[in-house]
């Protein structure tokens, strides 16, 4: 699997990330580094504990990282839940949970695809 194919598989924007970051090797390095990023786990656990303040920060970080890596699909779902967790604009738990399940689906797909990509490399 090439990096471009990885981006296609996770519905990211390969051309966009290559346009913003200086080299493919750097993009590759950070895509693999994404496996170590703890913001998704923090989002999941803080939602379980109903700690919405921490959940907001975690979702916000996740969305920022996805934005920088042009993980478009995961960016969109994490952005949606970020807005629902925003202090002062907190939505009902039902809405948040529904939105989070989309994030979970997108994250799992992204994570597993990158893992496979990292192992073959």
């Amino acid at each position: 699997m090439t990096l471009k194919e990885l981006y296609q598989a996770i519905e990211g924007d390969y051309d966009d990330v290559m346009g913003r970051l200086p080299s493919e090797s750097l993009v590759k390095k950070f895509v693999i580094k994404f496996l170590d990023d703890k913001s998704y786990e923090l989002l999941e656990s803080s939602l379980k504990n109903k700690d919405f303040e921490t959940a907001f920060r975690a979702a916000h970080t996740l969305k920022g990282v996805c934005q920088n890596l042009s993980f478009t699909k995961l960016y969109k779902s994490s952005n949606t839940v970020t807005d629902s967790l925003r202090p002062g604009q907190l939505q009902t738990e039902d809405i948040i949970n529904t939105q989070f399940s989309v994030v979970k689906k997108d994250y799992d797909k992204t994570f597993l695809t990158i893992k496979a990509y990292a192992e073959q490399a």
Binding site: R20, K33, H60, G64, N68
Partner: protein, 387 residues
């Protein structure tokens, strides 16, 4: 800061991933420090101070967020020397405006472009370095200007002192006392609003208070015994003469130094109760600076030795002044004098004119830049406009 030193950039972001990306983009040209939240960032700022050339700051962070960091940087005025570029996934205009209101130099939205980040960082660093150089130039110029002004005033007042056969310390003491008393009175009440640079100007002008004595004949000025009534009347003309001398200087008509020194000459023998000369002004009809010089003049005469009297102690002098034996003064000024005996004695011990210390000049420059008072013909300012 030396030009060839590698500049330090502090990256503040709670996501290790984001910090690593920015580091990868910038570490070829700069030394990178990292902080994972606002608290750690402030620690780094306190430790490294202006050694940090620039801060890249995220907004949403645990413990202390980016806006709180900016608030502290404003309070401590670190932000005046260390520029901040905000980098955030928050793209709402309210966040961006708030960041600019808190003094950030630039705002970069995620997702960022590596080259744009490099360019903006570089531009901000250059702008700040340039501004620092210009402020230093202006500061040096003001320092030199103040210094030569005060040397000239010192020469002039020394000439007068020499002819009066005075101790040589009187003008220095009046200058020092004027400075202290003005600072004290401004702390005590906001009735008289004087900036630090105005207080410096007045202190300098105080040196000329007796310049009118050059027109008093030698035989009266240096008469060993008591003056007759007629002689005393002639002696009294020195205040109005001093005023006219300065008033009639044919150039620099609008210079504050001329206005203030001429008024000090004219009114430093007025009395708060209206029974002084030459105009019989009363209370605050007498400008505060003339009131202060008048009190400083009397206080120093009492506490210094003269051929006809010993040097009185601070307490004795205060007693005589408060009794009304030596004139009538503004009660607020008397309080300042009474309450600060130790300070005044200490300051008068220093037998030299106050050197303008660098810090004071920096504050004065700052004040001038803020009030936009640096006049258009100042060459440093011209340079700044040309740039």
């Amino acid at each position: 800061m030396s030009e060839n030193k590698v500049e330090k950039i502090l990256i503040v972001d709670d996501s290790e991933m984001n910090r690593a990306m920015l580091t990868a983009i910038l570490d070829k040209r700069y030394e990178i420090l990292e902080a994972e939240n606002g608290e750690v960032a402030l620690e780094a700022l306190n430790r490294h101070g202006a050694d940090i050339s620039l801060v890249l700051l995220d907004i949403v962070m645990p413990k202390m967020d980016g806006f709180e960091v900016l608030a502290v940087m404003n309070e401590t005025r670190i932000i005046e020397n260390v520029p901040v570029i905000m980098i955030s996934a928050e793209n709402g205009t309210s966040h961006i405006k708030r960041a600019y209101d808190l003094g950030v130099s630039d705002y970069i939205s995620r997702p960022f472009d590596a080259e744009v980040v490099q360019k903006r960082v570089n531009n901000t660093l250059m702008l700040y370095a340039k501004q620092r150089r210009l402020v230093e130039m202006v500061t040096d110029q003001i320092y030199e200007k103040q210094k030569s002004n005060s040397i000239l005033v010192n020469i002039l007042s020394h000439v007068v002192e020499f002819r009066n056969g005075e101790s040589g310390m009187h003008i220095l003491h009046v200058n020092t006392l004027t400075n202290i008393l003005l600072k004290l009175v401004c702390q005590k009440t906001d009735k008289y609003k004087l900036s630090e640079s105005e207080i410096d100007l007045i202190s300098m002008a105080s040196s000329l208070h007796d310049i009118g004595k050059i027109a008093i004949p030698d035989n009266i000025l240096n008469k060993p015994g008591r003056l007759t009534k007629e002689e005393f009347e002639i002696m009294k003309t020195h205040s109005a003469i001093g005023y006219s001398l300065i008033e009639e200087v044919p150039y620099n008509k609008n210079e504050p130094l001329l206005k203030i020194s001429s008024e000090i000459c004219r009114w430093h023998h007025e009395r708060y109760d209206g029974r002084g000369y030459p105009d019989g002004l009363k209370g605050d009809e007498i400008p505060i600076y003339a009131q202060v010089v008048s009190l400083a003049d009397v206080y120093d005469a009492l506490t210094s030795e003269r051929v006809y009297k010993p040097a009185y102690s601070h307490d004795k002098a205060i007693e005589m002044i408060s009794n009304g034996e030596c004139g009538a003064f503004n009660p607020i000024l008397l309080e300042c004098l009474q309450e600060n005996g130790d300070l005044i004695r200490e300051e008068l011990k220093v037998n030299s004119f106050r050197e303008f210390d660098k810090e004071e000049i920096v504050r004065i420059t700052d004040e001038m830049l803020k009030r936009d008072l640096v006049s258009e013909d100042d060459s440093a300012v011209k340079l700044m406009h040309r740039d």
